[in-house]
């Protein structure tokens, strides 16, 4: 019995180190994402800052939690795997939908933006529909 207790405690120690490492890295990445969300000048650049780093930070934190419970108790949580998969699947999609909605509802770009390539496409589309209605 003391042998198993000793082995369990050393495994639990490495679980604590690895879990704390993943969680702390993920929290730092999330903090960097929030700083980018506050400091960037434009809704599109804010989407870029928020979505990527937020996805990576949350994935790192959930992976750290999964590894901690796997190594300390031998408990493999299928719900946590589902959560990781769902976050990884939906975070880029929702950010893409938000920036698309922002462009279509005419939110202006920042003045420092170099070029707006989508504008030509939309104007061409508008001209085409006007020609169709004239005919």
């Amino acid at each position: 019995m003391p042998d198993t207790l000793k082995g369990g405690s050393s495994l639990s120690g490495s679980a604590e180190i690895i879990g704390a490492l993943f969680i702390f890295i993920g929290v730092l990445i999330s903090f960097i994402s929030a700083v980018g969300l506050v400091r960037f000048p434009d809704v599109y650049t804010r989407c870029h800052a928020s979505s990527k780093t937020s996805t990576l930070g949350v994935l790192s934190i959930l992976t750290g939690t999964l590894l901690y419970f796997l190594m300390s108790e031998g408990f493999f949580s299928i719900r946590l795997i589902l959560g990781i998969f769902f976050v990884f699947l939906t975070a880029p999609v929702s950010s893409h939908m938000i920036s698309r909605a922002a462009y279509r509802s005419n939110v202006p770009l920042a003045p420092v933006s170099a070029e707006d390539e989508l504008k030509d496409y939309f104007e061409g589309l508008k001209m085409e529909t006007e020609e169709m209605t004239l005919q």
Partner: protein, 92 residues
């Protein structure tokens, strides 16, 4: 030591949510606010995961899935509302 790191992580995560809340209140356009609320949802997921590590329990793992799904549905419906003015389009 482990508890100190976990509590420090929760503190930094609270600061993160406060920064996101600043953008959600101040944001010039509505898309900014939706983006900030989406980020708050993801940070809440992370906070629940860290809290379950701190309390050493499995009881809150359902909550991660639940908040993820609800945040995704809310963000998608807000984006459709901003884009077209309606959420569910009627078929003609």
């Amino acid at each position: 030591m482990f508890d100190i790191i976990i509590i420090l992580s929760l503190t930094i995560l609270t600061l993160t949510i406060l920064l996101n809340l600043y953008r959600a209140i101040k944001g010039p356009s509505r898309a900014d606010r939706v983006q900030a609320l989406d980020a708050i949802g993801f940070n809440l997921i992370a906070g629940i995961a860290i809290f379950s590590v701190l309390l050493n329990t499995h009881a809150y793992f359902d909550l991660i899935l639940l908040i993820g799904i609800l945040s995704f549905v809310g963000t998608i419906s807000f984006a459709r509302y901003l884009e077209r003015g309606v959420i569910i389009e009627r078929k003609r």
